[in-house]
Amino acid sequence: MRFYRQQSPINTHMDSDQVNLVRESIQVARLDVEEAANVTDLAINQIRQREIHKSKEGLLEKLRKRTRGS
């Protein structure tokens, strides 16, 4: 008589280790996303600063023209 080893069914159930792994991974992803958000805020701040510089230049140019004209 031949003995066939019974195949174990594919484990589709998440054990506590896997649950913890997923939980920890989501937390890590969340931290990365928040880090990206912080850096993005800094970039937006630099854009604002750059736009202020541009408008200052325009305003100064207008003032110079007026001064020359007067």
Binding site: V22, S25, I26, Q46, Q49
Partner: protein, 143 residues
Amino acid sequence: MKNSAKEPEDLNLQLPPSKGKLELIEKLRSVLSEGSGFELTLPERKKIQLLVNIVNLEDEAAYFLDEAYEFLQHCELLLKNKSTPTSDANELKESLKETKHRFSNVQDQINEIDEYVIQALQEYNTILSNLNETDVGRSEENE
């Protein structure tokens, strides 16, 4: 900035490509460096420096989002393919959904920053081309 919340199923990593942009930024960096031959006024210098900063920050933000994406993809697959105890499943699915929404919002912001950068670089590209042509003209005159 837009605040469009997408459904978790729609999550895709769609960050702006950096090809071409980095080359132009390198050009601008060289313009800023001493001995470049470009005479810049202080406001011009400041504007270019700010643009270089913006591109660096954009790259850094994209890097963090790229890292997050891989984690989220793995988590999503595990949660889809395996059954989870109900108490954990709700918590994990909700947490994943929130993170993905946040991800999408930040990604939208990065893409908007990129639009700004591309527009600003295009302005400088014309200026740089003109400056290069002028330099070529000058050197030809000197010869």
